[in-house]
């Protein structure tokens, strides 16, 4: 009994020893698996993707580590743990891939969305470009039209300027014409004035000159003398100058100055008055340049009236001095 116990003890010791000598070999395999699991756990892109599988691997590995019994069983547990780790790795990789796939699919649809947006934007832009093109074409047409109108306007303007110039020239001409016509007018007025003068002269002649049997008679009105006076009034000489001019046109003819009165007053006195007045006129004519030997004077009194003595107008006409240019 004692012996057998000793024997058994020896066997157990041997077994323990063999276990000890075998253990380092198994520990190497276990260590490798443990390292593998640890590396899987510390890989951030895999750890956390397959927590359940990792847990199973961890459990399997711990079983292997804690395993007692024969070598075959232990190595079996190590084999199982190793495969659990590989399974966990594969599952983590798959999970990782699934998530990467999700991202890629999102990116894909994102690109398609973007593309459709760009497509729409491009379509809009094309539409806009087309619209702009149309607008530009319209604008071009409008500009061409405008330019044409401007050219026409310019042409019109230049022709208007030409017209204006012509008009100005015409105006200048008209002005010149009008000036000329003013001058003409002035001249005509002057002429008219001189005509008037000569016509007055003629009038004087016409009115005051009478052709009689004895010759041309110039009748001087009662303007020469004041009533009852026999000397000429002031300014009478100037009116006599015209008579002198007339008389000098016929220098060869004799001149007779006759004094006449109206019928008022005494006849004798009237003869005397008319005689003095005729002599005064004769003297004035001589003073004005008429040759003395050509002139004679006579007082005719009231006996040769040329108008009625019944009214003042007639009597005024009768009070006169006749200067007769004798025909011989």
């Amino acid at each position: 009994m004692k012996r057998s116990l000793k024997q058994i003890s020896l066997v157990l010791l041997l077994a323990a020893l063999s276990a000890c000598t075998v253990a380092p070999k198994k520990d190497l395999a276990l260590e490798r698996v443990r390292d593998d699991l640890n590396s899987l756990k510390s890989t951030p892109e895999l750890a956390g993707y397959a927590p359940l599988a990792l847990g199973e691997a961890e459990r399997a590995l711990r079983m292997a580590e804690q395993a007692t019994g024969n070598e075959y069983y232990r190595s079996h547990l190590v084999y199982m743990a190793d495969h659990r780790i590989q399974i966990a790795r594969a599952m983590a990789e798959r999970e990782q891939n699934e998530q990467a796939l999700d991202v890629l699919e999102d990116q894909h649809s994102g690109m398609l969305i973007k593309a459709s947006q760009l497509d729409a934007a491009q379509a809009r832009q094309e539409a806009e470009t087309a619209r702009l093109l149309v607008a530009t074409t319209v604008e071009d047409a409008q500009r061409a039209q405008r330019e044409k109108e401007e050219a026409l306007a310019k042409q019109a303007e230049s022709s208007r300027a030409a017209e204006l110039a012509t008009e100005e020239a015409q105006q200048a001409r008209r002005l010149a014409d009008s000036r000329a016509s003013e001058a003409e007018f002035a001249r005509r007025e002057a002429e008219l004035a001189s005509e008037q003068i000569s016509s007055l002269e003629r009038q004087l002649e016409n009115l005051q000159l009478r052709q009689t049997e004895s010759g041309v008679v110039v009748t001087l009105g009662d303007v020469l003398f004041a009533s009852g006076q026999t000397s000429l009034v002031e300014g009478a000489l100037s009116s006599l100058e015209e008579v002198v001019d007339l008389l000098q046109t016929e220098p060869d003819k004799k001149i007779r100055v006759e004094g006449h009165t109206d019928s008022s007053g005494e006849a004798e006195e009237n003869v005397e008055l008319s005689k003095l007045r005729a002599e005064a006129v004769r003297q004035a004519l001589i003073d004005l340049g008429v040759a003395e030997e050509r002139i004679t004077s006579a007082g005719m009194g009231e006996d040769f009236p040329i108008a009625s003595n019944e009214d003042e107008a007639g009597r005024a006409r009768n009070r006169r001095v006749d200067v007769i240019l004798l025909d011989n």
Partner: protein, 121 residues
């Protein structure tokens, strides 16, 4: 002291003389392989598929040699290889989809850049 001996003996007995597993012991391993095949394991995880099948085959052999315990370990190892094959296949498929999507995105981006020029960012 006697009890220790009994315990050691019992342990040795259980280790060596495990009761033969029932016929459905392999079922889970077989369905595992079938599922892994269906998941595309032959394409994406051929090594694991091979191990899964070999381990199952070894398990059958171990069963035949009455190494039941080893056979059960091998069944488990076959199963976990099938499981790993399934996960590797799924990971590979997801990786493939990611690559396809990335390629598609790149192509789309190039096409859109051609179409829209610098506006496309």
């Amino acid at each position: 002291m006697k009890s220790i001996l009994v315990a050691v003996v019992l342990l040795a007995l259980t280790a060596c003389t495990t009761i033969r597993p029932g016929p459905d012991a392999f079922v889970s391993a077989e369905t595992g392989i079938a599922a892994a095949e269906k998941a595309g394991g032959d394409e994406f995880a051929p090594v694991e598929m091979r191990f899964a099948r070999e381990k199952l085959e070894s398990a059958h052999k171990g069963m035949d040699k009455q190494k039941y315990e080893v056979a059960l370990y091998l069944v488990e190892q076959s199963e976990i290889n099938s499981e790993l094959a399934i996960e590797k296949s799924r990971a590979a498929k997801s990786r493939r989809r990611v690559n396809e999507q990335r390629k598609s995105n790149d192509e789309l981006e190039i096409r859109l850049r051609d179409t829209f020029g610098d506006e496309f960012e």
